[in-house]
């Protein structure tokens, strides 16, 4: 823990910048290409403005992408699965009937972010593109096998969301690219997902540890056919706990198995110590949350 973590001076005013609005994805991409590292994108701005107030970030140009139409949507078809536009607000995700019914872990994660006023304004794209190791939308979406659609002036590419996070605060976006859509395939039958988060103090805080468990069970709910376990805030990026997955994949559900998985997850996690918690505390929380999330996933009905 460094002094810099604890002592942060937040200025009353924002640093000066030039403001531009993008009306299309192509326009946004060409503006970002033109301004390069001097520009930042704003959608909700709930993270950006805070980091500008303590001068962590001082862009010369801010490109408003909220003015791009048709990036705020939630669409579902059985064939294509779920498609969420990058500008969709967290409260839309939290309240969406289709997400609550078929992808409930995603709604559950969205409702644990920040406070109502933040959720009403912040976007899923922002939560992912900030690429903090603790981003709450990341573990559930990675657990569901989501993909990120990224566009630039030449076209688009689609990337597994797991590969979208490169380092703390660093996403796979290159200069001139923006995230436009998150694609989530329809889960297999008998798939259950749970996301548990421990915040630093209260509901409003960043995760000290976040654990997403997505299990596909058999029709008797006795065996775990497949498992994805994703840990947040305990590594430079959201991480798949692959050894933990192997412990439970293809196994019969029983008491000892769950505890063994939880302990494996705690060992797999690679947290640092910071103002929100020590590494040891975080490992212990991983054990507790993995235990709880697996149990809830097995016991839940959707």
């Amino acid at each position: 823990m460094t002094v810099a973590d604890v002592r942060s001076i937040y200025s009353r005013t924002l640093p000066k910048f030039e403001y531009v609005e993008a009306k299309t994805v192509a326009e946004a991409c060409s503006l970002l290409t033109k301004y390069g590292g001097k520009a930042k994108v704003i959608a909700g701005g709930t993270d950006l403005l805070v980091s500008m107030r303590n001068r962590k970030v001082t862009p010369q140009y801010i490109v408003n992408i909220r003015t791009i139409p048709n990036l705020d949507y939630i669409r579902y078809t059985d064939v294509e699965g779920l498609r969420i536009g990058a500008l969709t607000t967290l409260d839309s995700i939290e309240g969406s009937p289709i997400i609550r019914e078929r992808f409930s872990i995603v709604a559950h994660a969205a409702c644990q972010i920040g406070q109502p006023q933040i959720r009403n304004w912040a976007t899923i794209g922002g939560n992912l593109c900030n690429a903090t190791p603790s981003a709450d939308m990341a573990p559930p979406l990675i657990g569901l096998g989501a993909r990120a659609k990224i566009e630039d002036i030449n076209g688009e590419r689609v990337l597994p969301l797991e590969e979208f996070f490169v380092g703390p605060g660093i996403s796979a976006l290159r200069t001139g690219e923006i995230l436009t859509e998150i694609q989530i395939p329809t889960p297999a039958l008998y798939t259950r997902g749970v996301y548990l988060k421990i915040p630093a103090r209260t509901m409003i805080d960043i995760a000290v540890v976040g654990v997403a468990v997505v299990l596909t069970l058999d029709s008797e709910y006795a065996n775990i056919m497949d498992a994805k376990i994703v840990l947040g805030a305990v590594a430079p990026t959201p991480m798949r706990a692959r050894k933990t997955e192997e412990v439970i994949r293809g196994k019969v559900i029983e008491e000892g198995l769950i505890e063994k998985a939880a302990q494996t997850a705690a060992r797999e996690a690679r947290p640092i110590s910071d103002v929100r918690g020590s590494a040891n505390y975080r490992k212990e929380l991983v054990r507790v949350l993995t235990n709880g999330a697996i149990r809830q996933a097995i016991g839940s009905t959707s």
Partner: protein, 156 residues
């Protein structure tokens, strides 16, 4: 380089010329003299700056003024009825002693209004979640929650 901003606040249309780095909070307080909305932490945690944008509670310290072009905004001043009559929520806060220093109150009332407009009979848990973005250092929240629940009952 100033941005021309048209916005509708409490039913009135305003055109102001703002620097891009001004937040909605700055515009409401400094340009429009609507000082009911408070500047607390300025980092989006305390909720004293809460306003309604399109009926949803949002923290105005985290909104660039330029981003609300053409939007409908409601501040605490907008709750007043005919001839200065208080909104039921405002009256409930007074009746239930939910105001001490009053600094959090405008934000609390607007978050409560956003809740009741969407969910007219919330449970206590739902009220607490709806107010989880508004901090109060004076009251301990009990009276505030009581006031919101009372106001919701009165609306029935």
């Amino acid at each position: 380089m100033k941005v021309e901003l048209k916005l509708v606040v409490n039913g009135n249309t305003y055109t102001v010329y703002v620097s891009p780095w001004m937040t909605l909070l700055d515009v409401l307080r400094n340009e429009l003299q609507l000082t009911g909305t408070k500047s607390g932490c300025n980092t989006g945690e305390c909720g004293a700056c809460t306003v309604l944008i399109g009926g949803k509670a949002v923290k105005s310290c985290l909104v660039l003024a330029a981003q609300v072009q053409g939007r409908e905004i409601v501040t605490i001043e907008g709750l007043e009825g005919e001839e200065g009559r208080l909104h039921p929520l405002q009256q409930a806060f007074i009746d239930h002693f939910a105001v001490q220093c009053g600094f959090c109150t405008p934000g609390m009332i607007l978050s409560a209004k956003a809740l009741l407009d969407k969910n007219p009979s919330p449970t206590e848990e739902e009220v607490r979640v709806a107010l989880s973005g508004n901090l109060c250092r004076c009251t301990g929240y009990v009276k505030i929650v009581e006031a919101v629940l009372a106001a919701s009952e009165e609306r029935q």
